[in-house]
């Protein structure tokens, strides 16, 4: 049933370019897709370990910059009169380096903040994103600062025997984003259904108990942070090579908020949640644009968010799944609040 739904959804997404010819809408779908990947990575932390990263865009932006700089090359001065010169590399290597670099940043941010967690994690992540933004803005020699890195090359896929396939058209980029999105989805699904995922859930629900059966808090949470950051970095790299221009505005707080909205509305802790929430809130501005003035669009955006959370408080996917399950078994579903209350942590 679930597998059938997933295959159906993938087939539907894969068929979109066959009947949707409008380049503007295709463009909206591609950028939305990139943000959906970001939202999926955020969901791994927020939904499966309960840690809110309010600086998640930092990993996305780092991925974008690393990828762009790898493929553009740079020439910067170092202390002591040395110069560091990097000749342009193929963008596909930029994509790989973006993942590695963002993942490494995730490791250090995780290590630094998971000793304290909760509100402290939120603060550390916000600060981290702001610091990275300021670096991108002020290290003009490397990042061009507000002048932006322009002419970022498109990703080229090396094809065995044939040479390269440069992904320039919207159609090609659509399928690239869909493919990366699918891989990210499968990776997260496998992870959360493995014993690593169970350790994360255990820690979220009852940390004291989880620790007492041998689950290592720091290791588990850091692992989640690394994978989450790496996936966000991959999304950032796709963004840089698709939009082909990258400036420090990519680190804007509103971008993190957008991802949080996608996750919460779709349903945190549900694999499909960020995809559903992401498609709705990514495409909503596009849908509203022809019928409303910009102010009206924002009000409507907020209105839709409030309406979703009012009617489906746990998010679209979990709430609907619960209703569906309840109707099938004929039982009233257990109130999630009552369940949550019994989970009061034992403090020792």
């Amino acid at each position: 049933m679930r597998a059938a739904l997933t295959i159906l959804a993938v087939a539907a997404l894969a068929s979109v370019p066959l009947w949707l010819r409008d380049p503007y809408l295709l463009n909206a779908l591609i950028t939305t897709g990139i943000f959906v990947i970001g939202a999926m990575s955020l969901n791994l932390l927020l939904g499966f370990t309960g840690q809110l990263s309010l600086g998640h865009i930092a990993f996305f932006g780092i991925g974008a910059y690393v990828s762009a700089l790898t493929s553009l090359g740079f020439d910067i001065g170092l202390p002591g009169g040395f110069r560091l010169v990097h000749e342009p590399w193929p963008p596909i290597l930029g994509f790989v380096l973006a993942i590695l670099f963002a993942g490494t940043c995730g490791y250090f941010v995780g290590l630094l903040s998971f000793r304290v967690r909760g509100a402290y994690f939120v603060i550390v992540t916000i600060s981290f994103a702001e610091v990275v933004r300021l670096v991108a803005l002020n290290w003009v020699e490397l990042t061009q600062g507000p002048l932006a890195l322009t002419n970022v090359p498109s990703i080229a896929l090396p094809l065995a025997g044939v040479g390269e396939l440069t992904l320039r058209t919207k159609l090609q980029n659509y399928y690239l984003v869909l493919a990366v999105g699918l891989i990210a989805y499968l990776l997260i699904a496998r992870l959360v259904h493995s014993h690593f995922g169970r350790a994360m859930r255990g820690l979220m629900e009852n940390e004291t108990l989880a620790v007492s059966v041998g689950i290592d808090v720091t290791r588990t949470l850091t692992l989640a942070a690394v994978i989450s950051a790496a996936i966000a970095g991959a999304a950032g790299s796709l963004y840089a090579h698709y939009i082909r221009i990258i400036d420090p505005e990519v680190f804007a707080f509103i971008n993190t908020v957008t991802m949080v909205i996608m996750v919460i509305s779709g349903g945190k802790g549900s694999l499909a949640g960020p995809v559903v929430g992401g498609l709705i809130f990514g495409l909503l501005p596009v849908a509203l644009r022809p019928i409303m003035a910009p102010e009206g669009q924002w009000i409507a955006y907020g209105g839709v968010l409030i309406a979703i959370l009012f009617v489906l408080p746990r998010g679209i996917v979990p709430s609907l799944a619960q209703r569906f399950a309840a109707r099938r078994s004929g039982k009233t579903p257990l109130a999630p609040v009552a369940l949550a209350e019994t989970g009061v942590k034992e403090r020792v």
């Binding site: 493995s194 014993h195 350790a199 859930r201 629900e205 007492s212 059966v213 041998g214 257990l334």
Partner: protein, 257 residues
């Protein structure tokens, strides 16, 4: 009898408050030892020291030759020293079955790459865990509840989930913190059978409990704490007739009567 755990001159102070002043005793391999004492005697504090949730102000705890000082709770769990908690302690939003799978964490360690790619090694490990979870569920008698959220179970059933969770972690020594409080007589009776069964598997048991009839039935040996120090130690018969123990529980007048 070989000694499993040694507690040597352990003291715990919270600021000026002395929770445990000087505690020394040993737990034998395969023994059921009970730690009793009036409220506030320091029993749960002693538990927390033995399982790494609390660092003692002085003294040391050794388990099977390894000093536990400075080890984190999950590292101590890796030595096979597993505890349960006084209040209900389950993963409330997961099913009973998933609770046990989480508890089986120590048995399920496979490489990250194996897990993500679903390689044969990871799949075999998953199959083994699922089988083990089913066995444990059957053993504590919760098969009927397998697919209910643990948080929706009755108090007594949640207790059983707690014990099954601890057993899932494959302890060589199990520390039970007031496991039967809030249980009715028949539930308690079943629980005593369960504890005997656990010991029958060669697992050492340290029990903290208020239910005296239960403690007297199940224990091989009893250690009595009062005001953070040990006031008596011995078999249930010895403890039952010890004047210091009677005084601690019933007051000075009762001891003379």
């Amino acid at each position: 009898m070989t000694v499993a755990m040694t507690i040597e001159q352990v003291a715990v102070r919270f600021g000026g408050l002395v929770a445990i002043s000087d505690m020394s005793f040993t737990v034998g391999e395969g023994e059921i030892l009970s730690l009793i004492g009036p409220n506030g005697a320091g029993k749960t504090t002693a538990f927390n020291v033995m399982t790494g949730f609390l660092e003692p102000s002085a003294g040391r705890v050794t388990y099977q030759g390894t000093a536990l000082n400075g080890l984190k709770p999950h590292q101590i769990a890796d030595l096979g020293l597993i505890r349960t908690f006084q209040r209900t302690s389950v993963f409330p939003n997961d099913t009973v079955y998933d609770n046990l799978l989480i508890g089986l964490h120590r048995q399920g360690r496979v490489g990250l790459v194996d897990a993500i790619l679903g390689l044969p090694r990871a799949r075999a490990s998953e199959r083994k865990l699922r089988q083990r979870a089913s066995e444990l569920m059957e053993w504590v008698g919760l098969e009927r509840r397998a697919h209910d959220a643990a948080g929706s179970l009755s108090y007594g059933e949640q207790r059983l989930v707690g014990v099954a969770l601890a057993l899932a972690a494959e302890p060589s020594m199990l520390l039970l913190d007031e496991p039967v409080s809030g249980m009715n007589a028949s539930e308690t009776h079943r629980f005593v059978e369960l504890i005997r069964g656990i010991r029958g598997r060669g697992i050492t048991i340290l029990l903290v409990e208020h239910d005296m009839p239960m403690v007297m039935t199940v224990s091989d040996r009893i250690v009595v704490l009062n005001y953070g120090r040990i006031i008596a130690e011995g078999t249930p018969e010895v403890i039952r007739n010890d004047p210091a123990v009677i005084e601690a529980y019933l007051g000075h007048g009762a001891a003379r009567a």
